[in-house]
Amino acid sequence: MKILVTVKQVAALDEDFEFRSDEKDVDEDFLIYDLNEWDDYSVEEAMKIKEASDGAVEVVVVSVGPDRVDESLRKCLAKGADRAIRVWDDAMDGSDSVAIGRILAAVIKKEAPDMVFAGVQSSDHSHGSTGISTAAYLDWPHAAVVSDLKYSPGSATAIIRRELEGGLSHEVEIACPAVLTIQLGINKPRYASLRGIKQAAAKPIEEVSLADIGLSAEEVGADSALSRVRRMYVPEKGRAAMIEGTPAEQATRLIEIMREFKGE
């Protein structure tokens, strides 16, 4: 039995930063990379199923990206994932979330897992579409924003709870294999043990090329993307204003503003 978890190394920003000269992204020197928070929950959910199972369950993590992504994959290995796969080819540069979905679907077809987890979204680009586009390429059932999961390895179905607007929940029975996008709070992700980190450092990360998954350069990258970034910029500031004066003066003005908003 196999669970495949798709993960992404995301970029976090400091408060001051510079754009690249093409103005399509932030200068890489200002980015701090880490495992996407949603994916941390996906890996934990897979680990919980593995640890609760009587039979053998293999957890495989997959990511699309250059060498630096290995660091995030090792984090997953340190938490107990059995294998890590990194897919990369320079031709993949500029892929949008739909093209990434195509790449991940190709890996999944090859790996043939019983269940696929992805994060609801990534904290940097927030498209919320990679997991769903992966399911579309696979033509598998899918469910988004999963906040609870009841699934026994080998079962033909899983019972899931989805978060809806207005505090509502949606309980759904889904046929397996399926792609589920996992929501924050579904579990409490563990910290990797020191032993786990040391063992992960020695584990190999499988590097997969385009040819290995049967895709061509034309099927990935900026040219195959359905959307492309035109420019990235800081929008003009809104109506924020500094309230000047002594603390009492500031408090008085703040109360006035609140009363104005309340129409008093």
């Binding site: 020197d29 200002f30 701090i32 910290y191 786990g196 040391k198 002594t246 009492a248």
Partner: protein, 459 residues
């Protein structure tokens, strides 16, 4: 690898492994020649330079070395970093042309007085000058310069700046609005002459500050205690100089916030205590429950209060007896039992009993209590809850054999906290030198570096 016994060994190890975080940690104990090599490791790559310029733990010496950078982004981060030393800021100001960056230097707490004086004397940008007027590091000279150069322009900031001298406060009191006058009365250097004038004011904001001033005489306080404004009466209730009779009267005030303030005072007469113990507001009774001079009979009464926060207050009170604590340790609310677990008077037997609790808040208290037996602490190091394990780490009585397994704790912050624990040996700390977490490695090398800087010998 053996524990280094002198600074030179430590720096050589760092240069061999070329870890930027370890390099930053040992920079202060390196020789001039070694520093150059360390700088290559620390800021050789721009992304590292940007990171260290912003990092709150970057040692002052490293930030000082970075002040010579020509990279505007690095300079901006240095200007913003609260740890940047005065010498570095002085150097940055000497070559700075951008108003935004000068503004950051003008508001930095470490900017030397002479730099702030130069800014106050020669800059013309109002935002920059306002930053100086708000900076507690500004000298009296800098503040006088600003008040003289642009009278009235920065009165709000000057009135609240702790560095402002009494004569300047007096000067701006005469022209300030009610808010500025109130801020001046609240100022630690407010002269008596200004306070006397303020006592005769009718402005509520000013009187609120007058009511809190210990120098105000009893007659004025008595008048203010009858004022219609609740915040003024609350100010009197908080004033340590208010006579007991006045406090007794305020203990019956209509406003709960006034009675709560009375209940939070350091000293209460028996009559006031009695009055407050019957108060309908449970926050009043909660404050009373924490009063360290509360009679035992009153503690027992409040220990049976229907409100959990009142019972918790009694459980926190250092005057509570062992017998009372034993009763509260069996309370149905975990938050009350937790207060007992943190109580300084909790006995080892009571802590042993509380160690069987299942609530994490209670176990955290037991884990951090210096009277908890070592074998219980040892058991709590195995807790799946990180907060409980952290309690053991922070327990100043925990012995080395208890702490030792926690050096392998999965949570990096725990390993980092252990580095400074005096119960551990140098060898234990040195064992974390190749920790996977950069902050832990930094803390290890910084600990050894600080010891060498102080001339201590490592055994």
């Amino acid at each position: 690898m053996a524990v280094p016994v002198q600074a030179g060994d430590l720096v050589r190890i760092v240069l061999q492994h070329r870890d930027p975080f370890a390099a930053a940690a040992v920079y202060n104990v390196a020789t001039a020649g070694q520093r150059q090599a360390l700088e290559e490791v620390i800021v050789g790559e721009r992304r590292n330079a940007l990171m260290f310029a912003r990092w709150e733990h970057t040692p002052g010496g490293v930030l000082q070395a970075m002040a010579g950078s020509g990279d505007q982004a690095v300079k901006m981060r240095l200007d913003k970093n609260p740890g940047t030393p005065g010498q570095a800021l002085s150097h940055l100001y000497s070559s700075e042309k951008q108003a935004t960056l000068i503004g950051l230097i003008a508001q930095h707490a470490h900017t030397p007085a002479n730099v702030l004086e130069a800014i106050a004397a020669f800059e013309s940008d109002l935002k920059i000058l306002k930053a100086v007027s708000s900076n507690p590091a500004a000298s009296v000279r800098a503040i006088r310069l600003l008040v003289t150069r642009m009278p009235g322009q920065f009165d709000s900031a000057v009135a609240t700046n702790p560095a402002t001298p009494a004569d300047v406060l007096e000067q701006i009191y005469a022209r300030g609005n009610a808010f500025i006058r109130a801020a001046i009365v609240a100022h630690a250097s407010c002269p008596l002459s200004v306070l006397d004038r303020a006592c005769g004011e009718h402005e509520i904001n000013v009187l609120r500050q007058v009511a809190r001033d210990q120098r105000v005489d009893a007659e004025v306080l008595a008048t203010l205690a009858g004022h219609a404004d609740v915040a003024i009466r609350r100010g009197v209730a908080a004033n340590p100089a208010a006579p007991d009779a006045l406090i007794g009267m305020l203990a019956k005030d209509d406003a709960v916030s006034v009675r709560r303030t009375v209940a939070a005072r350091n000293f209460l007469t028996p009559a006031t205590v009695m009055c407050l113990s019957q108060d309908a507001d449970h926050w009043v009774r909660q404050w009373l429950g924490r009063y360290p001079l509360l009679p035992k009979i009153m503690l027992r009464q409040l220990a049976q209060d229907s409100e959990m926060i009142v019972r918790r207050a009694v459980a926190r009170n250092p005057a509570s007896s062992a017998q009372l604590l034993k009763k509260l340790a069996a309370d149905s609310e975990a938050w009350v039992r937790s207060a007992v677990a943190y109580q300084v008077n909790a006995t080892p037997s009571l802590l042993r009993w509380l160690a069987e609790d299942t609530e994490v808040d209670v176990l955290c208290g037991v884990a951090s209590h210096p009277r908890t037996p070592q074998h219980i602490l040892q058991r709590l190091t195995q807790s799946p809850d990180a907060d409980v394990r952290r309690g053991v780490i922070l327990n100043r009585s925990a012995k080395r054999r208890v702490l030792w397994p926690l050096l392998q704790d999965p949570y990096y912050l725990h390993r980092m906290l252990l580095i400074g624990n005096p119960a551990l040996s140098e060898k234990d700390r040195w064992g974390l030198r190749d920790d996977p977490d950069k902050a832990v490695r930094f803390a290890v090398f910084k600990w050894f570096s600080d010891r060498f800087a102080q001339g201590e010998k490592i055994h």
